[in-house]
Symmetry: D2
Subunit: 487 residues, 4 copies
C-alpha cells in the first residue's frame, strides 16, 4: 500500500494485496464444483492474473502517469469533468487492454461506469440515496477495490415485463423490506469479472412500470455476501492451451457468471434505488452509455491488433504487393481508425451532467454499432490474408522435433526475412485471435456486450435531431418557402 | 463594393459585380454553340445564379459572420492556422452548400484549396515562385475573385506516363519558353465552374519523372485569356425542368468543361512551377488533400438531406413505426454523423505546415472513402422508404387540374397531417435528389471527384502507421518478449 | 393479320394494327393536358413505339420461333405446363427486353401474368367466374391484345385495412351492384403501360377481411371504357434527349399512370371476383408470383448490360489489368449469372397447379431480392470503372465541331483501338444506363416493382421449410437422439 | 466384405475393415510424438470415427440407395456421365456431411475428385499414363479405399515459380528418375484426412513452365510408403470437450497434415504425370473444379444448420416476431438456398469431357465464392439472434447440480415450451458451431479450402463470356448499328 502523489492518503493496492483480497468466503462454482480459492484454480486463476495487471500497471513507472489520477487514486475513480478527463480515462482503458493483449481487464472500468452513472443521477434520486452513493463511491476509491456489475436479468419471456412474467424468476426483485435493509432474490446473467472482484453492484436492466416497483432496485454488496452464488461459465477455458500456440488466450481469461441471489440481504446504506420504477430506465441507460464509451475504448487494441495482424500476415506471407491484399488492408485501417476517431470525438463533444462529463451518446452508439457490425468482416479479411495455415499449422513441438523439425521449419518459410518458426508464431497468434474460442468470445461480445446491435440502433434513432433533419428536407421540398434553409 | 469590418479595405464583391465580371471575352461552348454571355444563357445562367449565392451570403446578415473572415475578406481567403480556422472554413462550406440545396458553390472553395496547397509549398518551390504565389494569392483575395482549378489531364493510355504517350495530347505541356513567360498546349478535363470563374489555376495531376519536365507546370490565367476554350458538358441540363417537380435541379447547376489550351501564353509572374518534376506529385497531392477536406465538408448537406428525406418520407407515408424503416433510418443517421464527426475530428487533428493548418490526411481520406462507398446504399434506403411514386408520381399540373385535381390529390394522401400535394412535393424532391441526373451527378462525384475510391484507399494505406501496428502484432505473437507492449 | 403456323386461325397483329387500336376514346392526360392520340404525342409516342417491338418481333424471322407459341398465337398466351414452357416464356421476355435495350415491353407479360394467376384459381373461384376467365383469356389471345394490370391501390393510411380507412378513397371498391354488372370507384397507382394497352385488368392488392368484401374485386375492361381516366406520370420524359447521348432513353419509354375509376361500369362477364374477400390475398399473391418470375426474366438484359458496360468501360479506358477493376468485374458477373441461374432453376423446380406450371416461389423471391438489393452496388461498380466523364462528357455536337472537334476527339482517346468518339459513345450509354432518370427508373423499379424488398423477405420466410431446418438443428443440439439426422 | 447388388463382386468394406486397414506402418506425428495407432489415439481416433461413417452409411438400409452406386461399389467411384450422375454424387456428399454433423467425411470425396480429373485428362496425358490411371481407379474402387490428396505445395516466396525459388524446398519435385519409378522430395501442406486414408494422391498445384518440369508430377502411393511422414496439425483438438457442450466437435474431427516426402520412391505404374509442365495447370485446375463442386455440396448441411440454428434460437429465445430477427432469418434462408440452387443448377448445366460429366465451372465458382464471402456474416446473424449466452452459458454440470441446478435451469428458460436445459443445449450447439475452434475451422475452410476467394474470382472472370457481354454493350452504345441486338 502506498500514498498518493498529493500525500492525501490515496490507497493504491498491489497485485498481491488484490489477490489476497479474493481469498474470502465467496461461493464460486466451476463446472459444478465449488472453488475454494479462485487465485489458485487451474482455470480461474488466469482470470485473476489477467485482472491483476491493473494493479501492476499502477505501480509501474511506465504507466503510472496514466493509471494514477489527479488525487493519487486509480484514475478510474477520477470523475471526468471535461473532454480531457474522458480522454485520459479512455487512454487508460486502451493502454491496459493493450497490455492485456486485446482482452479488457474490466475490474475498475465497469464498476466506475456504474458509479459515474449513479453520481450523475444523484439529483434525481435525492436523499438518502445521493449521500449513500457518495459514501460508496469513496469507499471503493479509497480502498482501490475491484468491482463488477450485475445488470442483465435472465428476462424469461421477452414479450413480457418483469411483473408480467408467469413465474417470479425472470427479474431480480425485492422479496422483503426490513428496517435495516432489503432482501433480494433472483438471478443476473453475463456478470463479468465477478469471481475476481471485491464488490458487486446491481442495476436495473430496463425501463419499468409502476407494477414493477419491486424490480426497480439498485445496490451494492461485497462478493462474499451470504446468499450470493457465482456460477462461472466454462466458455473460454484455458485447458490444454500452450503459450506459443495460443499467445493470447493460453494464460489470460475473463469470466462471466450466472449470479444467483438466494435471498441476499442488502443493508440500507448500500441500497441506491428501491422502488423508483420511473427512474429504472434512466439508470439502466445511464450506466450503459458510460459502459459503451468504455467499450469503444477497450476495443481499440483489438482493432489495432487486427490491422497489425493483417499487415504482418501480408509481410510474412510475401503478399504485401497483391492488389486484393492491399484492398483488405485499407479496409482494416479505415475500420480501426474510424473507431478511434469516433471515440475521441465523442469525448470531445461531451456534455456535463451533475458534475460528470458524459460522452456524446449519439457518437458513442454509432462507433459501437460500426465496430460491432464490422468485426466479423475484419476477421474474414485477416483470415483471408493469413491463409489456410491458420487451421492446419504444425505444432510447436513438431517445429522443434530433433528429427524433422529443421526441415519442417524450412518448409514453413515464405517471405525472405522470416524464419518458418517466426511465421508460424504470427499465424498461430492470428489463429488464436480470430478462429478459436477467443475469437468467438470477441465476436459475441462485439454483438451483445454493452447492449446489442439493435439496442444501439434504437439509441441512434432516439438521440439524433430528427426534427432538424426533417426541417431541412421540408425546405428542400419547398414546403417551407424561406429564402435560406433552417439552421 | 464595400469595406471590411476592420476598415482595412477588403473588397467583398456583390452578386451583381460578380455577374458583370463574367461578361468578358471568354470562349465558352455549349453543345457546339459559342456562348455570348454565360449570365443569360438559358442553361448556363443557372450555374451563374447558383454560384452567385456565395456573394449574396457575404452580404446577408445571417451569414456575414461565417462568410467574412478576420481580415474582412471572404473567409475562403483566410489561411487557417489551427483547428479553429479549419472548422470555420468547413462550416462556411457546409452552410453555403446547405443554402445551395446540397450542390456546392465551389467558386471559392476549390481555388483556395489550390492557393493553400501552393502556399504550403512555398519553401520547397523557392523563389521567385514563392513571391509569385504570395502576390497571386493577394490578387485573388483583394479582388474577391471566383476561381476554378484545372488539374485532371485527359491522360490517354493509363499505363503510360506523360512523356511516354504515343501522341502529345494526353497531358498539358509547355511547348515554348519565352523570356516573359511560357506557352502551354493540351487539355484538362472535369474542370468545374470554369465557365463562371474569373481565374483559372492549373496544377499537375500526378507524380512525374525527369523526362516529364515539360509537363511539370503550374500557373494561373484569367478565364478570358486568348487560346483558352471551355467546352461545357451537356450533363445535368435544366431544360424542361419545373421547380416543384425538380426543386433541387430546376434552377441550379454546376458546369464542368473540357478545357482546351490552344497555345496559351502565361506571363512569368503567373507561373508557379516550371519543370520541377520532382515536386509535381507533392503539389498534386497537396491540392487534393485540401480539396478532399473541402469535399467532406460540402457533402454534409447532402447526407443531411438524405437522412431528412428518409425521415420525412417515412412520416408522409405513415411508415415511421415499421421495423425495417427504422433500421434503414438508423443506417442513414450513422452514415451522415460518421462523416460529420470524422470531418470535424480531422480538423481537430491538423498539423501546421509552413504556416498553413492541414487537416489530418488519414482521417480525411477515410471519411471521404466511407462517404463514397456508402452513397449508393443511402440512395437505395431512401428510395426504399419513399416508395414507387418516386418514378410514377402524377405531375403538379395534374394535381391542380380543375376537373380531377382535387380527387387525385386526395388519392395521394397517406399519413394524417399531410395533404396529397404536400406528400407529392416531398416525393418529388426525393426523386430529384436520388433518381434523376442530379442524383446521378452526386453519385458520380462521390466516386470520382477529388480523387477516386481507389486513390483514397492508397492514401489510407500510405498514411497509416503500419510499422506501429506491426510492432504490436509482433509483440502479441511473442516475437518481441518485452513485458509490456510497444507504445 | 396472319394465321398461325398450325392454320388454326391464330391472330398475330402487326405493329401498325396495334398502333391503330390505340386510337380510340381513351382519356389519357399528360401534365394536365388531355392527349388526343397517344401514338403521335411527342413524349408518349415513344412508349407506343417501344411496346410495338412486341408485334414486330412476332413477324421477324429472327424471333418468330421464340415469339410465337405452339398454337400460333403470341407465346405469351401459351399456358406453361412444365419447366420447358416456363423457360420458353422466360426466354421470350429476356429476348424482347434485350431488343428493347434493357427496358421491358410489358404489354403482354404483365397481362398474361394476371391471366395465368386467374386460370390457376379457377377451381377456387368456381362458376360462373371460371368460365368467364376462360372466355376472357381466349378473347385476349385470339385478338392478340395488349394488356395492363392495375393492382396497387393508393392505400391511404398504411396502418389500416380497406374498410377501416377514414375516407373511402384509399382502395378501389364496388359502389353499386346491378343485374348486368358492377360499378367501381377509386384509384390505382403505378399502372404500367396502360396508356398503350387495349385491356385493363384489375386485381386486389392484398389479403382482406369480411368487412372488406366490397374491395375484393377483380375484373377487366377495355381501356376506352367510360369513367376511366389515365393520368400519366411525367417521370422519364424524353424531352431534349438525343440518341447518341441517351442511346437507351431518347427514343423509348414506359409510362405509369395513376388510374382513376370514376364510377366505371363493368359488365358481369368481365367480373372475375366479387366479394370473395377470403380469396383476395391468394389472387393478389398468385399474380405477384407470376409477375416476379416475369421480373427476374426481364432483369437479365439489364444485368447483362451492366456487366458488358463494366467490361467495355474497362477496355476503352485501358483499365482491364487493374486489380480493383477485375475485382469489380467479377462481382458484376457473379451478380448477373446468379440471377440467371436462379431464374432458370426456379423454372426447373416448378409445380403444376390446375394445369398451370408455377415457378418455385422461394427461388423466385430469393432471385428477385438479390437482384433488388444489388442493383445500386452494380451501378456503383460500373460508374467506378467508367470514370468521371459519365457526368462531364462533352456533347456530340462538340466532338463534331468543325473548329475544335477533331482535337477534342483526340483528347478523349484512352486505350488504343478506340477513337475518342467511340469511347464517348460507350460512356454516354453508361451515363444513360446508370446516372440519369433512366438509371433512376431502373433503381426504383428494382426496389418497388412487383413487390418491395420487404415483401420479398416475408415471402422467403413464409415459403421456406422452417420446420425441417429446425429439426436438423435440434438433432445437432442433441434434443433428438436419433442416430441419423432427420431427412 | 460383401458383394454388390449386381453380383459383380464389388467390394464394400465395413467400418471395422476400414479401421483395421489404418493399422499399418504409417508414420503419423501429433505434437511431436509418433502415433502408433491412429484408431486409438485420444485425439486422432475421433477423425477415424468420423470418417468411418462413410462405411457405416453404405451398410445402412437408410442410406444404401444413395451410398452405393450402379455397379455395387461406393457411389463415389461412379463416374458421372450426366446431370443425374452429378446430382446423385452431390446428394451423397450432402447426406454424409449432414450425418457427420456439418463436417465433411472426405475420405472418398476428395480422392474421387482427383480420379475424375485424371480420367478426364487421359486423352491429353496419353499412354502409358491413361492406362495407369484406369488401373489405379479400378484398384481404389474395387478395394473401396479411403483416399487423400496432397496438392498444395508450401510455395516459399509467392512471387517466384517452382524452379525460381532460392532453395529447393518450396515445391515437391522429382529428385531421381529410375527405370522402375521416380523419387520425390519436398512437402505438401493442408493435406486433409491423410492420417486416416489408405491412399495418398499427389497433384501439381499450379501452372508451370518448361524450367519447372521436375515439379510437374502426379502420382499415388499407399500412406504407409517409406519416406512419407505425416505431421498432424494440433488445430481443432478434442481435448476437454464434452458432448452436450460441444455436440458437434467433441467427438468428431478432421485432420490436416503437413506431409513430408523424404525421398519417396514411386513405382512407375503409379506415376500419372512426369515432366509434362504444359499440362500441370490443366490437371491442377481440373481437380480443383471437381473439388469445388464437392465443396459446394458439402457446405449445404452447414448452411442448413445455420438457418436451423437461427430459427431455433429465435424460437427458444422467444424472438420469432421481432422485425430484425425476421430480417436476419430471411437473409440466412436466401444465403442457404442460393447455394443449394446454384449447386444443383451447376450439375444441370454440366458438359461431358472424355466421358466424365463436369459441372458448370462458372456456376460452381460463383456458388463457392458467395458461400465463402457470406459465412462470416451468417455467423454474425446467428450469434446476434442467439444472444450473449453463447459465450457465458453455465456448464451442464451446473444445470445438473443437486443444490442449485433446478433453480439455474429455471432461470435459463425463455420462450414457453422449452426447458432451461433444452435452451442451453441449443445455445451450446450454436456456440460450438460458430464461436469456437470448430466455427473457426469452418470459417478458414470457407475462405481457403478448394482455392481461395481470389482464385474463385479469377476463375469467374476467365469462364464468363466476356465478348458476348461486350457485344451487347457495344450495340446498346450504338457502335453496332444492327437493328436487333447480337444474340
Amino acid at each position: 500500500m502506498e500514498r498518493g502523489a498529493d500525500g492525501a492518503g490515496a490507497r493504491l493496492r498491489t497485485a498481491a494485496e488484490y489477490r489476497a483480497s479474493l481469498r474470502d468466503g465467496r461461493r464460486v462454482y466451476y463446472r459444478g464444483q465449488a472453488v475454494k480459492d479462485v487465485t489458485t484454480h487451474p482455470v480461474l486463476a488466469h482470470a485473476v492474473d489477467h485482472a491483476a495487471l491493473d494493479y501492476e500497471m499502477a505501480h509501474d513507472e511506465r504507466y503510472r502517469a496514466l493509471a494514477v489520477g489527479p488525487g493519487g487514486h486509480s484514475r478510474y475513480f477520477h470523475v471526468p469533468q471535461d473532454a480531457e478527463g474522458l480522454l485520459a480515462r479512455s487512454a487508460l482503458i486502451e493502454a491496459s487492454t493493450r497490455a492485456g493483449k486485446t482482452l479488457v481487464l474490466l475490474i475498475k472500468e465497469i464498476g466506475t461506469d456504474a458509479l459515474l452513472a449513479l453520481l450523475a443521477m444523484r439529483a434525481q434520486l435525492g436523499e438518502p440515496y445521493a449521500a449513500r452513493i457518495d459514501a460508496y463511491y469513496e469507499h471503493c476509491r479509497e480502498n482501490d477495490l475491484a468491482m463488477c456489475v450485475a445488470q442483465t436479468d435472465v428476462k424469461g419471456d421477452r414479450s413480457l415485463g418483469p411483473s408480467q412474467q408467469p413465474n417470479d424468476t425472470a427479474y431480480l426483485r425485492i422479496v422483503e423490506r426490513r428496517p435495516d435493509g432489503i432482501v433480494v432474490r433472483g438471478a443476473k446473467t453475463h456478470t463479468s469479472v465477478s469471481i475476481n472482484a471485491n464488490e458487486l453492484m446491481v442495476l436495473p436492466t430496463r425501463a419499468m412500470t409502476e407494477a414493477d416497483a419491486d424490480y426497480a432496485v439498485a445496490f451494492a454488496v461485497p462478493v462474499d455476501t451470504p446468499g450470493l452464488r457465482l456460477v462461472a461459465s466454462p466458455y473460454l477455458a484455458t485447458d490444454g492451451k500452450r503459450e506459443p500456440e495460443h499467445p493470447l488466450s493460453a494464460g489470460r481469461k475473463m469470466v462471466e457468471t450466472t449470479t444467483l441471489f438466494e435471498d441476499v440481504f442488502v443493508p440500507s446504506e448500500r441500497v441506491f434505488m428501491d422502488g423508483r420504477h420511473e427512474l429504472a430506465g434512466a439508470l439502466a441507460r445511464g450506466f450503459v452509455e458510460f459502459h459503451r464509451f468504455t467499450a469503444i475504448s477497450y476495443k481499440l487494441p483489438l482493432v489495432d491488433a487486427l490491422v497489425g495482424a493483417g499487415l504482418l500476415a501480408a509481410r510474412v506471407n510475401g503478399l504485401e504487393r497483391a492488389g486484393h491484399v492491399r484492398d483488405k488492408l485499407s479496409w482494416l485501417i479505415a475500420y480501426a481508425e474510424t473507431l478511434r476517431a469516433m471515440t475521441h470525438h465523442a469525448a470531445g463533444r461531451c456534455r456535463v451532467i451533475d458534475g460528470v462529463a458524459v460522452p456524446d451518446t449519439l457518437l458513442v452508439n454509432i462507433a459501437k454499432l460500426q465496430f460491432a457490425q464490422g468485426l466479423h468482416t475484419a476477421f474474414q479479411h485477416v483470415q483471408d490474408i493469413s491463409g489456410g495455415l491458420l487451421a492446419t499449422y504444425p505444432a510447436i513441438e513438431d517445429l522443434e522435433h530433433p528429427e524433422y523439425g529443421a526441415a519442417l521449419s524450412r518448409y514453413m518459410e515464405a517471405a525472405p526475412g522470416f524464419s518458418g518458426g517466426e511465421r508460424m508464431r504470427v499465424l498461430s497468434m492470428i489463429s488464436d485471435l480470430t478462429t478459436g474460442d477467443y475469437g468467438g468470445y470477441q465476436a459475441v461480445l462485439a454483438i451483445h456486450a454493452e447492449g446489442s446491435i439493435e439496442a444501439e440502433k434504437l439509441t441512434i434513432l432516439a438521440q439524433y435531431d430528427r426534427d432538424g433533419a426533417m426541417r431541412y428536407a421540408s425546405w428542400l421540398a419547398g414546403l417551407d418557402d424561406a429564402p435560406w434553409p433552417p439552421s
